[in-house]
């Protein structure tokens, strides 16, 4: 039962983190664009719970949930959205790059598809180093049309690499429905072109995603190569929040998906299995307090100093071009 409680905790963290981030974005505290994962919590946490803490993970532009799924500390994530120096990336990355390397993340990259070759390379590194770490690569239906997807699956297959390609098919690439943009009925159908075993799972069902990812991780660890998993899921929000207008009229579709809300489904399951309602309520309270604490932490943190713009272009300061002092 503990794994359900812990999964619920992380899913709840994602949901509340996103809801509060949207509010702080609306009131002007969070700058830039904000891509939220509400609705996708089960596939995120299900996949992450199937991994070991030392396994690697690569995310994308819609990646607030991924580090939370892998149990990252919340405060530096929220502070990053607030562009503070205490942020996980020191205020350099923001919403689209909310990557916490301490939990195995190797980046959340906002050019759609560009993280996939990186995941392949991490898996190659694990294989060459002779360790049994696997790499979980999150990507969306939109990325599956990019060349990087196809090159990555081909390389992972011919080199038999320990990588799990987990497609979060949330039905839209910005405004373009997957049904109009993808040449096959399911993204999973593309596995066969690369001799990669694939399966389709209900992305709103935590256990289904967890079990599929475990099977894939076992295959990867035993040297049997990559797996392609397609989790059918849905994002509740627009592509990015507060874009000023609704990009797609989704009609009743949104309501239908909300009726299969992953948190509601998991609560029901826990109760059915004889779990404690009180523990779930306690988790809700605990998470609410935790997220508020993270917001307070972010608000009370300083912005990075202007001269930090020149840090981490390279390891150490490279002085060949004009730096801040000559721009003042």
């Amino acid at each position: 039962m503990d794994i359900y409680y812990e999964s619920y905790r992380r899913m709840r963290r994602i949901r509340i983190f996103e809801e509060r981030a949207e509010e702080c974005h609306a009131n002007g505290e969070i700058p830039g664009s904000l891509h939220t994962s509400s609705g996708q919590e089960a596939e995120i946490v299900g996949a992450c719970m199937a991994l070991r803490p030392d396994d690697y993970m690569v995310g994308n532009h819609r990646s607030h949930g991924h580090p939370i799924g892998k149990n990252a500390e919340i405060k530096p994530l929220m502070a990053e959205l607030f562009a503070r120096k205490t942020g996980v990336c020191g205020g350099k990355g923001g919403s689209m790059h909310l990557s916490d390397f301490s939990v195995g993340s190797l980046g959340e990259t906002s050019i759609v598809g560009s993280g996939m070759p990186v995941a392949v390379g991490a898996a190659l590194g694990s294989k060459m180093a002779g360790n049994d770490r696997v790499t979980l690569c999150f990507f969306g239906d939109g990325a599956s049309n990019a060349g990087a997807f196809h090159e990555s699956l081909n390389l992972a297959s011919i080199w038999s690499l320990p990588v799990i390609f987990l497609c979060e098919n949330n039905a839209y690439a910005v405004s373009t429905p997957a049904a109009e943009a993808v040449s096959v009925a399911n993204i999973a159908d593309r596995g066969v072109a690369y001799s990669i075993p694939s399966e389709i799972v209900d992305g709103q069902d935590l256990e289904a995603v967890m079990e599929a990812t475990e099977r894939a991780a076992n295959r990867a660890r035993s040297g049997d190569g990559p797996t392609l998993i397609e989790a059918k899921t849905y994002r509740y929000a627009e592509h990015a929040v507060n874009m000023g207008r609704i990009l797609v009229d989704r009609g009743e579709e949104l309501e239908q998906w909300c009726s299969k809300d992953p948190l509601v489904l998991l609560r029901k399951k826990v109760i059915e299995l004889g779990g404690s309602e009180k523990i779930l309520i306690d988790i809700d309270v605990e998470v609410a307090t935790e997220i508020e604490g993270a917001i307070e932490f972010a608000r009370s943190s300083d912005f990075p100093e202007a001269a930090t713009a020149f840090d981490d272009v390279f390891i150490g300061r490279v002085e060949s071009f004009r730096d801040f002092s000559t721009f003042e």
Binding site: K92, P117, A119, G121, M128, A129, E151, L155, V318, S320
Partner: protein, 323 residues
């Protein structure tokens, strides 16, 4: 000391670093068959895991090098012809150049991308590019453009040991050059240090890659007219050793920048601007650029050869700034 060719210098640098560090590996197209002669004996010595032939999949394997470097490996990617990096531009510009920055220093990407610039050989426009200047405009990438075998070897070894991503642009017009290189596995040329290839007092030529031997020849020709030319080779474009260039300019007051790249936004342009900003009061003549005009490289050899910097064009420029 042994006399070795430019190609052999590349081979030795890679071999020695593969031998020195088990995390170094080589990846690219047609390495096992040793298409350019830079991997002679590698497969036998290091095996197919570390001498890794790839499919024609530049975006995939350049990105894979980035991922492997983030988990502790030190890949050298042989892209063969420089323009083959274009299919991988997203990985170079959005992942390799920016990952350390956007993740606030959490990532480290010790990798080398090797690219040969195969111009002047009737290979037409798509195979004749010298694209290093465009990467100078992308922060986060170190860039070497060696002009002789000893620099090639020493800089490539430093690049492989460097913890930042390094692009190595290797000038194909230099391949047959031979040079003495110390028999020392710790022979390194540091990144970011220019070299004065010829001492002089009247005119400074800052030359890039294959233009360096041309500049030296031109300097020898005008010596008969009593013009003493200093030739400065930056060797690395990022970091750029501005001080060595400026020191020469302050001495001579007359400057020519010679660069085989296309003129617009060339390294010649960048260095000229830097000199104009920082040493204007020392200048006694306008800075001249000798570059390749902004036309594509045609197939026909007799038309092609006139486009790149030549000894004659450099001599004309020297006389012009000396008047």
């Amino acid at each position: 000391m042994a006399k070795v060719s430019f190609i052999e210098a590349i081979r030795q640098a890679q071999y020695e670093e593969l031998e020195r560090d088990k995390n170094v590996f080589l990846m690219g197209e047609d390495l096992v068959c040793n298409v350019f002669g830079t991997t002679t004996g590698f497969l036998e010595a290091f095996g197919p895991e570390r001498i890794r032939d790839t499919p024609i999949s530049e975006e995939g394997f350049v990105g894979a090098a980035a991922g492997a470097s983030m988990v502790g490996m030190r890949p050298i990617v042989d892209l063969t012809i420089a323009s083959f990096v274009y299919p991988a531009m997203d990985q170079v510009c959005s992942i390799i150049a920016k990952s350390r920055y956007i993740y606030g220093g959490q990532a480290k990407l010790p990798l080398v991308l090797r690219m040969c610039m195969f111009y002047g050989n009737a290979n037409a426009a798509q195979h004749s590019d010298r694209p290093y200047p465009m990467f100078m405009g992308m922060p986060g990438l170190k860039i070497i453009v060696p002009s002789c075998p000893s620099d090639m070897k020493g800089l490539l070894k430093s690049a492989i040991r460097d913890d930042d991503p390094v692009l190595s642009f290797e000038d194909g017009t230099l391949w047959s050059q031979k040079d003495e290189i110390p028999d020392d596995k710790e022979y390194l040329v540091p990144l970011g240090v220019a070299d004065v290839k010829r001492k002089g007092k009247d005119v400074t030529i800052v030359a890039i890659g294959g233009a360096v031997p041309l500049a030296i020849k031109a300097a020898t020709i005008v010596e008969a007219d009593g013009i003493s030319v200093e030739v400065v080779d930056p060797r690395t474009l990022v970091p750029l050793d501005c001080e060595t260039i400026l020191e020469s300019v302050r001495k001579t007051g007359r400057v020519i920048t010679v660069d085989p790249a296309h003129e617009a936004c060339s390294v010649a342009s960048e260095i000229s601007a830097m000199i104009a900003e920082r040493a204007f009061s020392f200048l006694e003549a306008p800075i001249l650029r000798v570059t390749t005009p902004n036309a594509h490289i045609p197939f026909c050899p007799s038309v092609e050869k006139n486009l790149f910097p030549t000894v004659d064009r450099i001599v004309t420029a020297i006389r012009s700034v000396s008047n």
